[in-house]
């Protein structure tokens, strides 16, 4: 189907980055390798390279997120791009201006890249389908669908610590149903060859037919953590609490919160990840969040390198072939 290749140009190079689903292993590895090169920039006095000089990156956020927007902004600035932050509140959208209208207006300002966050699944796909052909679209989170750069940050962190993917057991714990990060992680992990991907949570937070994503479903944390190499804790939105999905924070923490005792069920060299921000005492206690197994702060610093990598890859001129690059 046409849309499946929306992310790639005719030389199978990355054109937009909308989802980790359907991308080949080589391409995901290339993102990780390129990000690895960008990590050296933090050693420079002037933490900036001229790759995207003269380009304009628009952070188009239909959903508030200071953290994600800041890392994309920093990544773009370190690539020497000009950055425009546009927050479209729900109220402005309801004044009758459609998403397409907003898009056309921005295109008229000669932008080169849209970094899009939107509360609706498929919004980044929609924008990529309808924007001018020279524009690249990065999905910074669409509804419950995908958050591919966050997932690649986590892959980067896992590779740094575990070096290989083919022998790992990875557990993702929490609100899988509403998590775009989890979906992108699952696709990336399975493409990179992780043989045992587990999702752990109560039935109310596990999506229908979850096993069709290629994961093992556990409702019991103790069973799910048994012998895993990597634990990814998901953020639990406060509004899920005290609803029909969960009775209370207290009960959630008691059953699914990560503590030292629960951590002992995993492998001795397990790493603990969290896309942040952490609800301490809900998803995990502080002893784990700040403990020796936690790599949460590293995830944050890797975020900029991954986003620089994806930005420079998607902004590479469309349709150049491998041989032209080698010349």
């Amino acid at each position: 189907m046409k849309q499946q290749h929306l992310q790639l140009d005719h030389n199978k190079r990355l054109r937009h980055f909308l989802t980790t689903e359907g991308l080949k292993r080589d391409l995901l590895v290339e993102i990780l390798d390129t990000a690895e090169s960008f990590t050296s920039i933090t050693n420079q006095q002037i933490k900036k390279v001229p790759l995207l000089r003269g380009k304009t990156v628009v952070n188009l956020f239909f959903e508030a997120s200071t953290r994600t927007r800041t890392t994309f902004e920093l990544a773009a600035k370190r690539l020497s791009a000009d950055v425009l932050n546009i927050n479209v509140s729900a109220s402005a959208a309801s004044k009758g201006e459609t998403l397409l209208d907003t898009l056309r207006n921005l295109e008229a300002m000669h932008c080169d890249m849209f970094v899009v966050r939107h509360p609706n699944s498929g919004a980044a796909h929609f924008i990529a389908e309808h924007c001018a052909p020279h524009i690249s679209v990065l999905n910074a989170g669409d509804g419950r669908h995908a958050h591919p750069t966050q997932a690649m940050i986590d892959m980067f962190t896992i590779r740094r610590h575990k070096h290989e993917f083919h022998n790992l057991s990875v557990a993702i714990v929490g609100d899988i149903l509403h998590s775009r990060v989890a979906r992108s992680q699952i696709h990336a992990l399975s493409t990179l060859g992780v043989p045992d991907i587990r999702v752990i949570g109560p039935r109310t937070l596990i999506p229908a037919d979850a096993s069709t994503l290629g994961v093992h479903v556990y409702n019991d944390l103790d069973q799910g953590l048994d012998g895993v190499d990597v634990i990814i804790m998901l953020r639990l939105q406060r509004e899920r609490m005290s609803s029909a999905l969960l009775p209370s924070e207290h009960e959630y923490f008691r059953l699914y919160g990560l503590t030292k005792e629960k951590l002992a069920l995993a492998k001795a060299d397990v790493i603990v990840m969290h896309p942040g921000p952490i609800n301490r005492g809900v998803e995990m206690d502080s002893a784990v969040a700040d403990g020796e197994h936690s790599v949460i702060l590293q995830q944050v610093s890797h975020g900029i390198s991954i986003r620089m990598a994806v930005m420079s890859m998607t902004m590479s001129p469309k349709g150049t072939s491998q041989s032209e690059r080698d010349a």
Partner: protein, 432 residues
């Protein structure tokens, strides 16, 4: 009639299929004064045709009767109009269609029903029937003036997609409609279980991160309605079934003697949630496209007779209505022009014989609506569809006549194309 002299027409040598009269053979059809004179091998005495149509190699059947087509008028003329959509219907062999009450304003007064009937009459391309609102303003709480609406020509009552406030109101509405001998057309969907779901809950909703509408949203509602019908003994019609399980439940109810009928939209017999691909908003429909197993269940329901009508569920939209992220787009697809070709595809795939297939497109939906249509019985209004079963064509923006270009079947190849449509003995469509 204001439309000039009614001509005498002789349709020669076509394969006449008239399910109501169990006719399935090559015959001639003779028409005069807008009515069928006879279906036979020889001309009636003294019949001199003004026009002779050679229908050799063509199928001649009653004009199709479509249980549900939204014409968007009054109130949403940016999407379509009665004139534009009845012309598209005529080009698709549809001569009678029924419009649900969710126009703007809603069909809860005789004036709105009359307006639609008059506009359709003026357009002259198809006979347009209306379903009246079951509750006032479709609020699901207070009864509409069904007696007056019936007098204004409404052929049934429905709450369209709007929910009932509770089952007690549904019970009273069904009882009141029964006392006026009006058939209640019901969309069985539990709105709480739907939970804003926009696609079938399953593998696809999980993969795309779209809110899922579980099959139970339909089956729970069907079982409640069936329990009510059993208690109060009324007739009811289930609209646009989407799940295999609901088909089984209705089959069992029919077997146990309840007066319940059901229809399905043509697209549900062909598409599944897999067709959504990557957020194809033209596949955003209500009820949602479901699993392959559900589709097979719906097909079985049709071939076994549990489902007695196939309808277009035509919902034309302006382009903007579909140009948004998936969940924000409006539901429904443009369906008039794919009703017959999608149905014929079921026959070509070996699911059903032509005669029962055409029955579900002609006399059976006519019977559900209680209208005189869908047959070639002598004396009946001459509403006729002639199609070439061997003719291949492609649906594209040049062939699509509806103002609604919103169909996921754009560029599909079809076998079987309508060449002539007659309504009341007059040509309302001729190909080329």
């Amino acid at each position: 009639m204001s439309q000039g002299k009614k001509q005498r027409i002789h349709i020669r040598n076509g394969l006449v299929i008239d399910p109501a009269n169990n006719i399935n053979e090559v015959r001639d059809v003779f028409i005069a004064k807008g009515k069928i004179i006879s279906v036979s091998s020889d001309a009636p005495d003294g019949f001199n045709a003004d026009i002779v149509i050679d229908a050799s190699g063509h199928v001649v059947c009653p004009g199709l009767v479509d249980l549900c087509a939204r014409l968007r008028e009054p109130g949403q003329e940016q999407k379509a109009t009665i004139a534009s959509e009845t012309a598209a219907a005529a080009a698709s062999g549809i001569t009678s269609l029924c419009c649900p009450p969710d126009t703007k304003p809603i069909i809860d007064t005789a004036a709105v029903a009359t307006l639609i009937h008059e506009k359709a009459q003026a357009a002259g391309k198809a006979s347009v029937y209306t379903l009246a609102a079951l509750t006032r303003q479709l609020d699901g709480a207070s009864l509409s003036e069904m007696g007056a609406l019936k007098n204004a020509g409404c052929v049934g009552v429905s709450n369209a997609y709007a929910p009932f406030k509770n089952n007690l109101i549904l019970r009273h509405a069904m009882e009141y409609a029964a006392s006026h001998d009006l058939v209640v057309h019901l969309h069985a969907e539990d709105i709480d279980l739907r939970n804003d779901g926009c696609v079938h809950e399953g593998q696809i909703s999980t993969r795309l991160g779209l809110a899922g509408n579980p099959a139970a949203a339909e089956t729970v509602a069907v079982s409640q309605i069936l329990a009510l019908i059993e208690q109060i003994g009324v007739k009811a019609h289930f609209c646009r079934l989407s799940t295999a399980r609901a088909v089984q439940m209705i089959a069992r109810a029919q077997y146990s003697g309840l007066q319940v009928t059901a229809d399905v939209s043509a697209h549900q017999l062909h598409l599944t949630d897999m067709d959504i691909g990557y957020f194809n908003s033209n596949c955003h429909v209500s009820p949602p496209l479901r699993s392959l197993r559900d589709r097979e269940g719906l097909r079985a329901g049709l071939s076994q007779g549990t489902i007695s009508a196939i309808c277009s569920d035509h919902q034309p939209h302006e382009a903007d209505a579909k140009l948004s992220p998936f969940a924000l787009t409006e539901t429904g697809m443009s369906g008039l022009e794919t009703l017959l070709p999608l149905s014929l595809r079921l026959m070509n795939e070996g699911l059903i014989e032509l005669m029962p297939l055409l029955a579900s497109l002609t006399c059976q939906p006519a019977q559900l609506l209680g209208i005189n249509a869908g047959t070639l019985t002598p004396g009946a209004k001459a509403d006729i569809c002639i199609y070439d079963p061997e003719r291949e064509w492609q649906l594209d923006s040049t062939t699509l006549r509806s103002k609604g270009q919103n169909t996921p079947m754009m560029h599909w190849e079809f076998l079987g194309q309508v060449t002539h449509t007659l309504r009341h003995g007059q040509f309302v469509f001729q190909l080329d």
